[in-house]
């Protein structure tokens, strides 16, 4: 199963090259920082929410959103391009390594990129909201969130038939999750019928868990849902790799 390492190493070498380009850091931070300024420092400046000031409520949500988009997008986009255009994914399929190893390598690389982007937002959050802090439970949630969305990235990267298709998944999956899953306001403020729909989104459960400082029954349920999603996405992604045929 150690075949995951060269895949992870390859992604990290490519990531290292991108990291030294200003454009990467900018693109990883720009959207959450715009949200932070618009909603946190602008619209919600004097709006307390769930017993705290709005910016302290918002930052964990932005961290969750950022970890989701970065873990997911990097994997989905890279895998799709590598499979359809650069044909470098085929090198992995033709190498004597287990399909699970390919999955693990891709997911670990996606998680690393997601966690890196999250750390950038956490750093900004600590600067603008001194009350904000990160305990073990949100940290664990963040890792789990990166894992499951990197797995989802593999699935989308494997099933899309063109690079343009990935933006369809962004528009119908990632974008609604970003806005409706409790990133900017509590889900309880939504109409009841929508709350049931929103409860399907994994990010909703990440947002519940990431704002908890101690585990309770609601947190346990959210954790169970996230773990279930992670397992299903991981095995489905692995199956797509195992069944890959041109």
């Amino acid at each position: 199963m150690n075949g995951w390492y060269p895949i992870f190493l390859r992604e990290m070498l490519l990531f290292k090259r991108k990291l030294f380009k200003l454009g990467y850091l900018f693109s990883a931070m720009v959207v959450p920082v715009i949200y932070l300024i618009t909603f946190g420092l602008g619209v919600g400046r004097s709006m307390p929410i769930e017993g705290t000031d709005y910016i302290t409520f918002l930052i964990p949500g932005l961290v969750a959103m950022s970890s989701m988009t970065n873990s997911y997008t990097w994997v989905a986009s890279a895998l799709n391009l590598n499979r359809l255009y650069f044909k470098t994914f085929q090198v992995l399929v033709q190498a004597p390594i287990n399909p699970f190893a390919i999955m693990i390598g891709e997911v670990l690389a996606g998680m690393t990129k997601g966690l890196f982007a999250s750390i950038l937002i956490i750093t900004v959050g600590l600067l603008v909201a001194p009350q904000f802090h990160l305990s073990w439970l949100p940290a664990l949630t963040l890792i789990l969130n990166c894992f499951l969305f990197a797995c989802l990235g593999v699935i989308v990267g494997m099933i899309t038939k063109s690079h343009e298709d990935t933006s369809t998944y962004n528009n119908f999956l990632i974008m609604p999750m970003s806005f409706f899953s409790g990133t900017f306001f509590p889900v309880s403020r939504m109409p009841e019928f929508l709350q049931k729909l929103i409860a399907i989104f994994p990010l909703t459960h990440t947002n519940i868990l990431i704002r908890k400082s101690a585990m309770d029954s609601q947190g346990l349920l959210a954790l169970a849902v996230l773990i279930a999603y992670a397992i299903v996405f991981f095995f489905f992604g692995s199956r797509l790799i195992r069944k890959y045929s041109e």
Binding site: N2, G3, Y5, P6, I7, L9, R10, L13, L14, R17, F86, K87, T88, Q90, V91, L92, V93, Q94, A95, P96, I97, N98, S245, E246
Partner: protein, 278 residues
Amino acid sequence: MISVTDLTRKFGAKAALSGVSFSVGAKEIYAYLGPNGAGKTTTIRILTSLTRRDGGMVRLNSFDIEKNPLEAKSQFGLVPQQTNLDSDLSVEENLLIHGLLHHMDRKTIRRKIEELLDYMELSDRRQSLIKTLSGGLKRRLLISRALLHSPRILFMDEPTVGLDPAIRRSIWGFIKKIRNDGATIFLTTHYIEEAEFLADHVAFLDAGKIVAEDSPANLVSGIGQWAVDYLDDNRLQTAFFNSREKAGSYVLNRANGCTVRRVNLEDAFIAMTGRKIS
């Protein structure tokens, strides 16, 4: 050794391969010759585990590609038709990743990189990013990558397609050298002269079927030794002769515009299928 029995593959209703069987012995260069769309790339994709077969059996050095996929995959190196190197990584990084994918230790990888870059005359480009290399250098690197883990079988899918004649000749030299060093080589091509220069055995593939398989000399011998190309009613025709003298006297009896040349594999292919290769 490569053993293929009754290989079939359909894409929708279209049969890409219909009952293809052949075997390639150790240290042999086997050329798979056919026009575009004949099924050459589909065959190589199945043999290298990229495309699933519908029926038949493939064994690489006695390992069945479906029953023992990891063992079968470790038997071969592949030079693909399309360059699939990581363009933002260096020559050395591309080779390092490939070596690790083939479970080689770093010390052995470094030694093999040294050897192969020297062998392929790429030593001075080891730190260069792939995107800065010319087409010919990339192709040499693809061959180096395919050889890194010392495979006993080398698959080459149109190894010189799109390259200028001088680079093509130098790559032919490398292919001969690799065979002389002990590898079995399976190559697909639609270049007649490539198959004639390199191959010990040639298979003619047409519409997903092998229509003939033999040494290049035996394949052409059935139709004669010399060919005369001439225009008849504005259509290019070819007549075949067993001796140069007979070809010469045929030319004397015709109007101007005849060309006398040696018979080649394309002539044999046309004689068997009624179609051109390229």
